[in-house]
C-alpha cells in the first residue's frame, strides 16, 4: 500500500487456475516428451510437419493434422533474442538467449533456451541439440529439456527469410 497525491493505492495480485484438455494431437506430443521424444504431426493436405502440433489443425489448409512424425532431436536456430530485461515471474537468469529452433524434420520453429555458449556467439543457422533434465524430473512439458546447446556441426545456410517462422 502506498499513499501519494492523497490517494491510497493497493497492489492486489490476482490468479486464475484452470483445467486444460489436451486433445488427441497435443496428447501424443506431450506423451512423446515424457518418453524423451519430439512427436509432431503432419498435415494430410500440404504434408508440412507441425511441432508442437498444438492447434490440431493446419492453419493453412484447415485440415486436421494426422500421422505422428518424430522430429529432431537436433535442430537449427532460425533467429533469436538475447533477453536482458528483468520481469515479474521470470524463471531464467539474465542475460539468456531465447531462440527459434527448427527441429530437423519439422516445418515450423519452436522457442527454447540456448546455453553452454556465450550469447554473442549464437547465430542464425547454428546447429543445436537438446540437453534433457534427469528423467526423474520429466513431465508432459518442453521444460523436460534443460536447454539446447551448440553441436559444433557446420552452420546450416538459411534462406533469405531467416525471420520466417
Amino acid at each position: 500500500m502506498s499513499e501519494a497525491d492523497g490517494l491510497v493505492r493497493l497492489r492486489q495480485p490476482i490468479g486464475v487456475t484452470y483445467n486444460w484438455s489436451a486433445g488427441p494431437n497435443a496428447t501424443s506430443h506431450l506423451a512423446g516428451l515424457m518418453n524423451g521424444k519430439f512427436v509432431g504431426k503432419r498435415c494430410p493436405s500440404c504434408a508440412l510437419v507441425y511441432f508442437p502440433p498444438r492447434n490440431g489443425v493446419c492453419p493453412k489448409c484447415a485440415k486436421i493434422l494426422a500421422g505422428d512424425v518424430e522430429v529432431g532431436p537436433k535442430g537449427t536456430i532460425t533467429t533469436f533474442c538475447i533477453v536482458n530485461v528483468p520481469f515479474l515471474g521470470q524463471k531464467i537468469k539474465l542475460p539468456y538467449v531465447a531462440a527459434q529452433i527448427l527441429l530437423d524434420g519439422a516445418d515450423i520453429s519452436m522457442q527454447h533456451l540456448i546455453q553452454e555458449c556465450e550469447a554473442e556467439d549464437v547465430r542464425i543457422g547454428m546447429r543445436v541439440e537438446p540437453v534433457w533434465k534427469d528423467k526423474s524430473e520429466w513431465g508432459p512439458s518442453l521444460e523436460n529439456i534443460q536447454h539446447f546447446r551448440p553441436t559444433g556441426e557446420p552452420d546450416r545456410v538459411m534462406g533469405t527469410e531467416s525471420g520466417a517462422s
Binding site: 501519494a4 497525491d5 490517494l7 493505492r9 490476482i14 486444460w20 497435443a26 506431450l30 516428451l33 500440404c46 508440412l48 510437419v49 507441425y50 508442437p52 493446419c58 492453419p59 493453412k60 532460425t78 533467429t79 533469436f80 533474442c81 538475447i82 533477453v83 536482458n84 530485461v85 520481469f87 515479474l88 515471474g89 521470470q90 524463471k91 531464467i92 542475460p95 539468456y96 531465447a98 531462440a99 527459434q100 516445418d107 515450423i108 522457442q111 527454447h112 533456451l113 550469447a119 542464425i124 508432459p140 512439458s141 518442453l142 521444460e143 529439456i145 533469405t160 527469410e161 531467416s162 525471420g163 520466417a164 517462422s165
Partner: protein, 385 residues
C-alpha cells in the same frame, strides 16, 4: 453503396506513465469530453458508442465497457466493444466508421484506452504457455527475433532503429499530449543505451502509458451541416492471419500486405509514396518503421531502412512518419491505434498544431497487433472522395 463518413471531432488525454489523478473512467471521460468539445456537440447528439481496448488482463478488469457506461453517458445508447490486441484502436475506429457508412447511425463516438499503470503489461504478455518452455519475455522478446530477421535479410546497419527512435522522440516534443518529452536525444547517445532484447535497444522501445483517444464520426448528411474542418474517410481495411503457421513470413506478414493493397485500391491510390502526405504508423519498436514502410508498399523490399537513413520519414522529408512522436513516445496500448487514426485525421483537418505537416491533404492511420497478425488501416482526406 456505402455512405460517406467524416471525423469531425478529435480528443485525447495527456498521456503519462501513471495518471494517478484519474481512474480508468476518468481517463476515458477526459478524451470523450475533449472530442465532443472539438466537434462542438454534446453527448446528447451521439447515437451510438464504439469502444475498444487491448486484453482485459492488462488492467485486470474484465469487460470494462460495462463499468464505463456512466463515464460514457451511454444510458439508452448502443455500445459496441471491439478487441483486436494492439491494433484495437484502429479496428475500433473502423467499426465505428462502418456504423456510419452502413447508414445505421448518423453520429458515432468512438474511444480507445489503456491504463497500463493499473496493471503490469510485461507480466500479462509473458504468461508461460502451458507445457512449453518459459523463455518468453514480453512483447520485446516476441518481436526482437523478427527484427533480427529483418536486419539479416535487408543488410540494414545497426543504427537504423536508433535513428527512428531519435526522430520520434524529437517529434514528440512538438506534441503537448505525448507521454515522453525528451528533447536532448542524439544518435550517439541513443546508440549507447543498453540492449534490452538484443538487437532492440532501450531507446528503440515504447514506453508504458496511461491514455485515451476519442473521435466523433458523422454521416455526410450531418457533416455537411457541421461547421469546422473534417477528415473524410476515403478507405478502411482490416486483415488478420494466424500467429503461427509453417513458412509464415513474419517480417512482412501477408495480411499486412493484403490490407495495404486493399486500402490503396479502395482509396484510388496508385503510388502511395507520392500521393500520401503523412503517415501515422504503429511503431512500438523502432525497427518496425522500415519494416512497415516495405509491408505497406511505400518502399521496395529491403529498402525501407535506406528511407530512414535518407531522412525521408522526418517531418521535413517527403513522407513524414509519426510527426506526433508515435507509439515510441506514447503507448496506452488500447488507444495507440486510435491515436494513429486520430492524428492522421488531425493532420488533414489542419489541427495538429506544432507537429502539423503543412498542406497535408491525405494521411493514413495504421495499426497492428498480436503477433503481427491483426492489421487495421484508414485513409483520410481533407476533401470528399
Amino acid at each position: 453503396m456505402a455512405e460517406l463518413c467524416a471525423v469531425v471531432g478529435v480528443g485525447q488525454t495527456k498521456h503519462a506513465a501513471c495518471r494517478a489523478d484519474v481512474s480508468i473512467a476518468g481517463l476515458v471521460r477526459e478524451a470523450v469530453d475533449r472530442a465532443l468539445a472539438d466537434a462542438n456537440i454534446t453527448i446528447a447528439d451521439v447515437d451510438a458508442i464504439v469502444i475498444g481496448k487491448a486484453p482485459d488482463s492488462l488492467e485486470g478488469v474484465a469487460m470494462p465497457e460495462l463499468w464505463l457506461a456512466d463515464a460514457l453517458a451511454a444510458h439508452g445508447k448502443p455500445v459496441f466493444r471491439v478487441h483486436t490486441a494492439g491494433s484495437v484502436g484502429g479496428s475500433t475506429a473502423i467499426v465505428a466508421a462502418q456504423h456510419v457508412m452502413a447508414g445505421i447511425h448518423g453520429t458515432v463516438l468512438t474511444i480507445g484506452f489503456e491504463k497500463q499503470s493499473d496493471g503490469n503489461a510485461m507480466w500479462a504478455l509473458s504468461v508461460p504457455i502451458p507445457f512449453g518452455m518459459p523463455v518468453h519475455a514480453g512483447a520485446g522478446g516476441y518481436f526482437s527475433p523478427i527484427v533480427r530477421g529483418y536486419i539479416a535479410r535487408s543488410g540494414a546497419p545497426s543504427h537504423i532503429g536508433a535513428m527512428v527512435a531519435v526522430k520520434d522522440r524529437t517529434n514528440a516534443c512538438k506534441n503537448p499530449y505525448a507521454h515522453l518529452h525528451e528533447p536532448d536525444w542524439t544518435l550517439e547517445k541513443a546508440l549507447e543505451t543498453p540492449m534490452l532484447w538484443d538487437p532492440i535497444r532501450f531507446i528503440e522501445t515504447c514506453p508504458s502509458s496511461d491514455g485515451a483517444m476519442a473521435l466523433v464520426l458523422m454521416s455526410e448528411e450531418r457533416a455537411d451541416k457541421h461547421a469546422g474542418p473534417k477528415a473524410w474517410v476515403h478507405a478502411t481495411s482490416m486483415r488478420s492471419e494466424p500467429t503461427a503457421f509453417a513458412g509464415r513470413e513474419q517480417v512482412s506478414p501477408v495480411a499486412g500486405e493484403m490490407c495495404a493493397a486493399d486500402l490503396w485500391r479502395k482509396g484510388g491510390i496508385k503510388n502511395p509514396a507520392e500521393e500520401i502526405d503523412v503517415v501515422e504508423m504503429y511503431v512500438p519498436f523502432a525497427w518496425f518503421e522500415p519494416m512497415w514502410l516495405e509491408n505497406l508498399g511505400f518502399a521496395p523490399r529491403n529498402e525501407g531502412w535506406r528511407w530512414v537513413e535518407d531522412g525521408i520519414t522526418e517531418m521535413g522529408g517527403s513522407l513524414p512518419v509519426n510527426p506526433s512522436g508515435g507509439v515510441l513516445s506514447s503507448n496506452p496500448i488500447g488507444a495507440s491505434g486510435m491515436l494513429r487514426f486520430g492524428e492522421a485525421a488531425m493532420q488533414v483537418m489542419g489541427k495538429a498544431g506544432e507537429h502539423q505537416i503543412e498542406g497535408a491533404k491525405k494521411a493514413i492511420g495504421h495499426a497492428y497487433g498480436g503477433g503481427s497478425q491483426f492489421f487495421a488501416m484508414w485513409l483520410v482526406s481533407s476533401t470528399k472522395p
